[in-house]
């Protein structure tokens, strides 16, 4: 492992992210903040939603922001760099095992996802206040869940980015990310699906369910949520699975 090369790869991604800071900011926060405003503020203050919904919504929005940011940060550059611009070739020829280039992408995506997730809390809190009741009982378990969610989003980005061709980007959003978000228990707790028993079981294959429920369980445990043990087991499982698939796909793309 060549640390100098690894750090230089990170520095390159850092430079590019700094250059694209404003679009990145808008892309990460605009949609979740609008959602928070409409559902948490407009719907609640007009009486269509109960006030408690504000607190229920916040962890879900955090999960969506994190997953969306991580997937986007890793998958989009990979799709274009592998297929369209071939930009990645220079880095594939850097004196380091190419798996580390994939790991660097994952690390960078994880950090971006963490920043997005942690920034959502104060932003949503400001938009929604008063009435948000956060009860973080165990900072350690909050930190662990957040980290696992960020990692899962970046690994998912790696797996998607190396599996999807440029012409299917639209399909990736409509067939993968959108259903994932709507059936990801972000806007409602998993227990709310109790009236749809089949659906309630089917959505368990969606990793976003564990992200939303895990963050709900650590930030607003007063609401019903999946058991934290199940959340940890599932998140670790999805992290490992997506990292494995992502690395394999990365190699298949990089070497013919």
């Amino acid at each position: 492992m060549n640390w100098k090369t690894f750090l230089a790869l990170l520095a390159r991604d850092g430079r590019v992210a700094r250059r694209n800071f404003v679009p990145l900011l808008l892309q990460t926060f605009l949609q979740p903040m609008m959602f928070v405003f409409i559902f948490g503020r407009v719907m609640v203050s007009s009486g269509y939603m109960p006030a408690a919904y504000k607190s229920l919504l916040l962890p879900g929005i955090m999960a969506i922001s994190m997953v969306f940011t991580g997937v986007w940060a890793v998958a989009m550059p990979l799709i274009s760099e592998f297929q369209f611009t071939h930009e990645i070739e220079d880095r594939l020829l850097a004196p380091i095992n190419i798996s580390w280039l994939a790991m660097e992408k994952v690390l960078f995506g994880t950090v971006q996802s963490l920043i997005a997730g942690l920034a959502v809390i104060p932003a949503a809190w400001v938009l929604l206040r008063p009435g948000v009741e956060l009860n973080m009982r165990s900072p350690l378990s909050f930190a662990s869940v957040t980290l696992l969610v960020a990692l899962f989003s970046a690994c998912g980005g790696l797996a998607l980015g190396c599996s999807i061709s440029q012409t299917h980007i639209g399909l990736m959003f409509s067939m993968v990310l959108t259903p994932m978000i709507f059936f990801g228990c972000a806007y409602y707790p998993w227990s709310a699906l109790g009236n749809f028993p089949i659906l309630q079981r089917v959505v368990l294959v969606n990793p976003l369910v564990y992200a939303s429920e895990g963050l709900r369980g650590t930030l607003v445990p007063q609401f019903p949520h999946l058991s934290m043990v199940a959340v940890f087991v599932a998140l670790i499982f999805f992290d490992t699975l997506l990292l494995g698939v992502g690395l394999r796909q990365f190699h298949r793309k990089a070497v013919s």
């Binding site: 230089a8 790869l9 520095a11 590019v16 930009e87 070739e89 220079d90 004196p95 013919s256």
Partner: protein, 342 residues
């Protein structure tokens, strides 16, 4: 620490369309709209290629599109996994010791692959950083290269707006940034104007004088002739001729090639062509396409009237005569029956 290049029985069979590194030579497979069935068909890109390139040599791989040039470069630069055979850069096995090999090589790919998210200078600086060059030396080296490749006035601009020629120059500068022992140039002067091509040739020679090994692929005879100390002519993934440009040219019987096209020719006519003074070899082309005959001879224009006389004597119409002087093109034609440009 001089490093040469060696390959032994390299074979590469693509079972899916060759992506990234292997160039555009696989028309059948890269064509869109082919079903899965088609994709599973196997394409033999390299078929037992063995080469030995000495340290400090400028070596050329000459061949038409799809001959296996880019696949060879791909294998030697860790980007293509060989189906069989082995390749070494210096003492390092390319597939088994990828990181050590990548330290030794600089690569200019056939297609532009610059980092569009960076400026020209940043591209060189980050490339240097990937290779662990310290920041002061990186800056000096980047400036020197930007000067040498006449890119200094655009150094701080994003490369997105660069012309094809500028991108190509920057790609070559980047490959030289970490001062590699072996430089791979895949069709380096494609798309360059004549002036820039000359600048590039000068830079390549200069780089070679410092003891570096250079492998370049081209289908441009002039370039191979001007730059390479030795050449391998490859076709269908096989090495069909090897030697210095002058040796190779001398190996074509006679040197001159007269390509003739008759209305209808007879074996008697071919035999009488063979008896003309200076004619070394007479070959017929595929009769289904045209009635073409290739005459290899040690003289050119002076033969035409004699050939015309023979033809009219045999009541055969002579439609077309094309004379070419001794060249690598003739050599390629002699070995493969096909023109390099076909």
């Amino acid at each position: 620490m001089l490093a040469g290049i060696r390959t032994r029985d390299l074979r590469k069979v693509y079972t899916s369309p060759p992506p990234l590194a292997s160039g555009a030579g696989f028309g059948i497979l890269s064509a869109r709209g082919k079903g899965n069935k088609q994709r599973k068909s196997e394409i033999v890109a390299l078929d037992g290629l063995s080469l030995e390139i000495s340290p400090g040599e400028i070596f050329g791989l000459l061949g038409p599109n799809g001959a296996g040039k880019s696949t060879t470069v791909g294998i030697l630069t860790t980007r293509v996994r060989p189906t069989n055979g082995q390749a070494w850069i210096g003492e390092h096995d390319v597939w088994a010791e990828q990181v050590a090999v990548k330290q030794l090589i600089g690569v200019v790919a056939q297609r532009p692959n610059l980092d569009f998210a960076l400026t020209a200078r940043e591209i060189l600086l980050f490339h240097g950083a990937y290779f662990g060059i310290d920041s002061r030396k990186r800056g000096q080296r980047a400036d020197a290269l930007l000067d040498r490749f006449k890119l200094h006035d655009r150094a701080d601009q994003m490369v997105r707006g660069f012309s094809g020629g500028m991108m190509q120059r920057l790609a070559i500068a980047r490959a030289m940034m970490h001062d590699p022992q072996v430089l791979f140039l895949d069709e380096p002067s494609a798309g360059l104007d004549p002036q820039t091509r000359l600048l590039l040739w000068e830079i390549i020679r200069e780089y070679n004088q410092s003891g570096k090994t250079i492998l370049l692929t081209t289908h441009n005879m002039e370039e191979a002739d001007a730059l390479c100390q030795r050449l391998a002519i490859i076709d269908h993934g096989r090495n069909i001729a090897l030697g210095s440009p002058s040796e190779l040219k001398a190996s074509v019987p006679g040197g001159f090639l007269l390509r003739l096209r008759f209305g209808q020719y007879s074996p008697e006519l071919l035999q009488s062509l063979q008896t003309l003074t200076g004619v070394r070899e007479v070959r017929t082309n595929d009769p289904s396409s045209d009635n073409g005959v290739d005459v290899y001879a040690d003289r050119g224009g002076s033969l035409v009237s004699e050939i015309a006389n023979l033809a009219s004597g045999a009541s055969v119409e002579l439609f077309d005569v094309h004379i070419s002087e001794p060249s690598l093109e003739n050599l390629f034609l002699h070995h493969t029956g096909r023109s390099l440009r076909e």
